[in-house]
Symmetry: C2
Subunit: 222 residues, 2 copies
């Protein structure tokens, strides 16, 4: 490893973990950042710790933020997580959307990047399987990057901040294939929005369905 | 008052309070948001509560965030607040700069705006007296607004988010003059970065100096 640093927004799920192994294989030292934001699926924090360890992260910060103060998402309030929904119809914005979540997460990453003198931020957003989330789209990421390059001292000093989204235009099966080829151990990752207390996935929420479909299709690609 | 809602980022200082009275006089109902971010000058939280009350805010949320996790600013770490600095030389970025602070604050405001179905956010940034802060510049705000209009469900549904910065090109004395004409009670506001425990301002930090200079000059304008 050299002295290239990257902030990795790491949920402990399939996408962010794959994003991490891609960053590592690009020669970056990983500074992982995970948010405890009152989500139902706190088990993902445990997964995030395992993945950070697997990626030999230099540091792993778990930041407590209280998105529940705003309510209105099934992931952070008392609304039931939808089960066995038809995920092939993704034109609606799912109830699991958390207001401005990626904007808040990227803003924390930007602050940490500035402090550790890092200009590379990795986020595992994906516009294919989750086209219903406005803050997973390429045009959003481009606008965020432009703003970030005006927001910081690094920007004033002429160093360019890059928001890396290596998964943005990939199908879930392609993401899994890339991860498996790079040696990712997906058994330590976690996707379910509504797991049992011991972390067992429900198998029915959108995230479980998308994960299963991804592995099924990846099997055909390998 | 009508049904126009505005989020006001309210520190309890002179600028955000004036920004609030401007928003109120534009006919907005005020939803004030204040951050407890481990700042030295926690006394400003008390001032923020008084100002929110003065502005008849519909709600006032105090959000706990831990910017100290990132360190590196005199406002949030053990670095001494500079005293009796020559504020007429503002080409350097002051040590009191908090990394990505406005980016984080605006992101929380954006999340709340989305939840309460509001498209107007007021922030009292000023590019004249604080040209050293990258995230107080008009080009930064314009880029943030553009990003915000791609980040949210409101954006997808065609409602435009507006980041209002009524003070951005005003001198401190002009800000004070506008506030006084609108009936702002500045005695309840607080500016000092390093007050005594009872809130008495130090009189020497940048913020105290700028406040005093502003009132001196406003006296000539009135």
């Amino acid at each position: 490893m050299g002295d290239k640093k990257a902030i990795l927004l790491l949920s402990g799920g399939l996408d962010s973990s794959t994003c991490g192994i891609i960053a590592r294989d690009m020669g970056f030292d990983i500074y992982a950042m995970t948010f405890a934001y009152g989500q139902r699926h706190e088990f993902e924090l445990t997964a995030a710790k395992k993945v950070a360890c697997f990626l030999s992260a230099k540091e792993h910060r778990i930041v407590n933020i209280d998105l529940r103060a705003f309510g209105s998402s099934a992931l952070t309030s008392d609304i039931d997580v939808p089960k066995a929904r038809d995920i092939s119809n993704s034109s609606d914005i799912p109830i699991t959307y958390v207001p401005a979540r990626n904007t808040i997460f990227l803003s924390y990453a930007l602050a940490w990047a500035e402090v550790i003198d890092c200009t590379d931020i990795f986020i595992g957003v994906n516009s294919i399987d989750y086209s219903g989330y406005p803050d997973c789209r390429p045009e959003y990421i481009a606008a965020y990057e432009k703003m970030a390059n005006l927001a910081t001292v690094a920007a004033i000093q002429g160093r360019t901040i890059k928001i890396h989204t290596p998964l943005i235009s990939l199908l879930k099966a392609q993401i899994i294939k890339i991860g498996l080829k790079a040696g990712m151990d997906y058994s330590i990752t976690h996707s379910c929005y509504d797991p049992a207390e011991d972390g067992t996935p429900c198998g029915l929420c959108d995230s479980c369905q998308i994960r299963k479909k991804g592995f099924d299709e990846a099997a055909l690609l390998l």
